[in-house]
């Protein structure tokens, strides 16, 4: 299936990626080519086939519900582009 520029803009919005008009034009072609190539999967009969959920067969691991880490707020905030005390600072979200 091919995508048009409006679809490119819509998915870019979902992905939180700013695209210029020139980008959208270019991506329309690139994404359509990739998606058309992917469509060869339609040839495969997958009737009754379970979708893969885990590539190696393992049983879900359980662990004790213990606190094993924490009290490292300094480390968590260490790489923030903008921080204050132990908070991440972002542009105002509530008027």
């Amino acid at each position: 299936m091919s995508v048009d520029q409006a679809t490119v803009r819509h998915i870019a919005k979902l992905a939180r990626l700013k695209v210029s008009d020139a980008d959208a034009r270019k991506l329309e072609g690139e994404l359509s080519t990739i998606l058309e190539w992917i469509e060869q999967l339609d040839e495969v009969d997958t009737e009754g086939v379970e979708p893969m959920t885990s590539v190696v067969e393992v049983t879900m691991k359980m662990r004790d519900d213990d606190v094993t880490d924490g009290a490292i707020a300094d480390q968590i905030i260490a790489n923030a582009p903008e921080g204050e005390e132990h908070f991440f600072v972002v542009p105002k979200v509530v008027e």
């Binding site: 992905a15 990626l17 991506l27 080519t33 997958t46 379970e50 190696v56 923030a80 542009p91």
Partner: protein, 490 residues
Amino acid sequence: MTDLTDLTIAEARDGLSNREFSAVELADAHIAAMEQGRLLNAFVTETPERALQDAERSDGRLKAGDGRPLEGIPLGIKDLFCTQGVLTTASSHILDGFVPTYESTVTANLWRDGAAMLGKLNCDEFAMGSSNETSHYGPVDNPWRRNGANTSLVPGGSSGGSAAAVAARLCPGATATDTGGSIRQPATFTGTVGIKPTYGRVSRWGIVAFASSLDQAGPITRDVRDAAIMLQSMAGHDAKDTTSVDVPVPDYEAALTGDIRGLRVGIPGEYRMEGMPGEIESLWATGVEWLKAAGAEVVDVSLPHTKYALPAYYIVAPAEASSNLARYDGVRYGLRVPGEDIVDMYENTRAAGFGAEVRRRVLIGTYVLSAGYYDAYYVKAQKVRTLIKRDFEQAFENVDVMLTPTTPNAAFAPGEITDPVTMYLNDIFTVTVNMAGLPGISVPAGLSSEGLPLGLQFIGKAFDESTLFRAAGVLEQAAGFDAQPGKWWA
């Protein structure tokens, strides 16, 4: 004295324990090589002081007779592994200035076993690429060039820096990661050995995530023995990664018996692709003859869904990538580009921080996961993946390993492949292995008509890396690959 940078890990280990040279001397030789090799652009960050500190500590332990498995071995680390206190970029602009406050399990295991860190290696941005051209830090040059030519060539990708550094003898071994072929394809392009272990064999904790159900770390080295030595230290169960599997790690070096008599080697007919270059096909046939001569039994096998692995991969991998890369939002680490409000800030940051290939994959991934398309794309791809895995399970009822070419071609020139789908086709022989979670190893087996290295790949059963090493060791012996690139960069 021989040049210390010519030594393999095994040779350096023996030389160190016999006190023929010190760990500091070994580190110094590699630091000098790393500095002389800057034209290759293999390293994003050099850490010579750290390498020397590590080496001094190793000399102390070696003197006390207390050496560990990798004592004093200087290694390069792909810049996808978080290293505490050392810049980690994933070769992306969006991780500008990111200095992890923790250490990935794989690198922690290497330091536990005595290795020294030379620096962080260039790769495709977020490991998305097959040529190292998508790196924010610029392309890596392949140490190899075509006969009589000065044209630069790509080292493959995404672990291009790892492969180039090992081939150019800037380091004897390097860590790498492989989501669709990112260890094995660059290993082939540079005449080195690369193994992607079984999914779950090596912890993914602290490795910058690309596609979590496919990513697996492994080593790139100059020979099979060194790959066994490095994987020994890298592998093992880790409580911090729920997908790491709690099974014992066998002694991989001990698996190198040189004896493959009676080993059943499968040849998947579907890998004989239309338009495959004659020299790849004849190298493959030669490989089969070598194994037969060593006493292996060669059997034809069929993997009917082979041609669908790559298109299915280009649904699954971008889908997982779009989720994994949602975390880069200009809030917690790396780049922030201001905007009118918070959403504008997110959008500006991600547009500026991600390169073209990463943006493409994030968009494809978002599209295939979006409402109304999820079943048609993602669920369909995961069903195809079940069929691919089933193909392997059935074929492995009759054989112990399979032999295939690693790539459909030798190294190409930067800018030679501009169409994304053509670039993706470079992974056609490697990607099936990731889709099925199996181990695969690439071994240099010969030179192309233009004098470039070509590799053959063994595919093994889940968690049977030992048989891969055994078979790869025999093929390596038979191939006697000892060609080296001319040192044009030094």
